[in-house]
């Protein structure tokens, strides 16, 4: 009974991994119609490096947007989760429900008014505006996750801090923060993956090609050079996009899985 299962499992694993392996190999292997026509090497990455504003600029854009989104998401959901878990205030349940309702509204429905709204706020075409919108999209999961993280902290811990005369903010900073760190890592990981990879939000909100994040830049690159697609450069772009995600994912897999556990147990 065991051996057939091993064969099926191994075959499927090969099937799931092979597109990634192929993409990495193809990006450095010789191929007609690319800069890397003979021999193995990094010619395709050079094409990428010299494309319009240069891959450095697009990588920087993506990094700025991702870091800002992660910071905003962590800050807002840490305070919000603390408020929802530990305090009772008027409008608490309403605010929590409205936050979760973000999940019910399609991206496209929100992006059309946001395009107009960011113009009014002077945030059109800006990486800051993009990060603020991406943070909003992350809030339902992040606030929910931080709320249940705070609720899982033993009551005695918070109480003892307050008995010792700590203000609620000092209690949060010194006592609670270490206890909810795993939740924060999960929230941060999801926020990073979402911000790094999002496509439709910058497509709508960013029209200045120098401010495009990497996924948008690589997708646009295909239409350049008189309609001829440089597949080698596309593959190199995919590798550049995927590498940070895969490394982070493998390093933090435990925290990624916890995101699902919390959702399935509570939801």
């Amino acid at each position: 009974m065991r051996t057939p299962q091993h064969i099926v499992g191994g075959g499927l694993a090969v099937l799931f991994l092979s597109p990634l392996v192929w993409s990495a190999v193809a990006s450095v292997s010789p191929q007609a119609g690319t800069r890397q026509t003979a021999g193995w090497g990094f010619g395709n990455y050079q094409t990428l490096a010299n494309y319009q504003a240069g891959i450095g600029q697009y990588l920087l854009n993506s990094t700025v947007v991702s870091v800002l989104t992660v910071l905003f998401t962590l800050g807002v959901s840490l305070l919000g989760g603390y408020a929802f878990a530990m305090f009772r205030f008027p409008g608490r349940n309403l605010l929590f429900l409205v936050t979760l309702a973000i999940l019910m509204v399609p991206y496209a429905t929100l992006l059309i008014p946001l395009y107009v709204l960011l113009n009014d706020l002077g945030l059109q075409n800006s990486l800051l505006g993009l990060a603020l919108v991406l943070t909003m999209f992350q809030l339902p999961f992040a606030v929910f996750m931080m709320r249940i993280s705070f609720e899982a902290v033993p009551k005695e811990l918070g109480e003892s801090a307050l008995v010792d005369g700590c203000g609620s903010f000092r209690a949060l900073l010194h006592i609670m923060l270490p206890a909810v760190r795993p939740g924060l890592i999960t929230v941060g990981l999801f926020a990073f993956l979402a911000a790094w990879n999002d496509f439709i939000t910058p497509l709508v909100l960013i029209s200045d090609s120098d401010k495009a994040p990497l996924p948008l830049a690589v997708a646009n690159m295909r239409q350049q050079v008189m309609g001829i697609v440089d597949y080698g450069a596309t593959e190199a772009g995919v590798v550049t996009l995927a590498l940070p995600c895969i490394v982070l994912f493998l390093a933090l897999q435990r925290h990624y899985v916890r995101g699902f556990l919390s959702g399935a147990l509570k939801g």
């Binding site: 192929w22 993409s23 009772r88 919108v133 990879n197 999002d198 897999q253």
Partner: protein
Amino acid sequence: MASPVTTLEQQRSSPAVPVKGVRRRRRPKLTGWAYAAPTALFVLIFFVVPVILVARMSVSDWGLFTGDRGWNAPENYSDVLDDRLLWPAVWFTIKYTVVTTVILLGLALGLAMLVQESSRWTGFLRSSFLVPSALGLASASLLFYALYSPQSSPLGFLGIDSFLGTPSSALWSTVVLIVWRFAGFYMLLLLVGLQSIPGDVYEAARLDGATRAQTFRHITLPLLKPSLALCAILCVTGSLLAFDQFYILTKGGPDNSTITIVQLVYNMAFYGQNNLGRAAALSILILAALLVVNVLQFRGLRGKED
């Protein structure tokens, strides 16, 4: 949920902190709001206001470059319903959703059962199935765009002339991409459900002489229903709102055969028509349809559970 709150309130009014009774007791409310304020601000500015704005735009003549030019209802809505691409897009989106959901959930269930026990080998398998989920949908679409192109494809041995050239091949090629990208994600959700089924239920079934098929049919499936329901709702919602994969792989082609509803919204607003009012009207209709679909799904899955 309630207990930490009461402790804080007891704390404030307990003899240990006797001073300034009334003001003290009010503080938890203010403090609570202070911590919730950033969330409230974000939700207000970037969610509540846009939802109100999109409703207003849907009844206004609102061009991409011209801005608000006054009332235009019900013309926005009737224009949307008369758009020649609307009904083909609706049907294509529904077809795509049904195909994707059936295949994806079936495969994910199989994968979850395959890696259910924990060992080093299944740990490796789980990671292999999950790695594609770390990629963005756009990155995965770009990867398959190169994988499917006649110039660079290594898939020549399959004997398929064109992966994206005909309407049905474009649909199936996209489904393959989506299954590759999301199977691990749904496997993980189902795995969580599988592992919450107590072992002694299986033990009892084994002692009663149940076959593997019987165990699966009468124990695993019913007990897994909540997880399957969650996956179905996520998958149906995600597929109805599909955009990235078609925008990158097919651009709606060939012959507009793979335009999804969200792509139509995008095209109305930013590509060609430049009509934000009409796009807003369509996205209000999508929102309403999605709410109905989700309520029906909740009802249906609840009902079967009882």
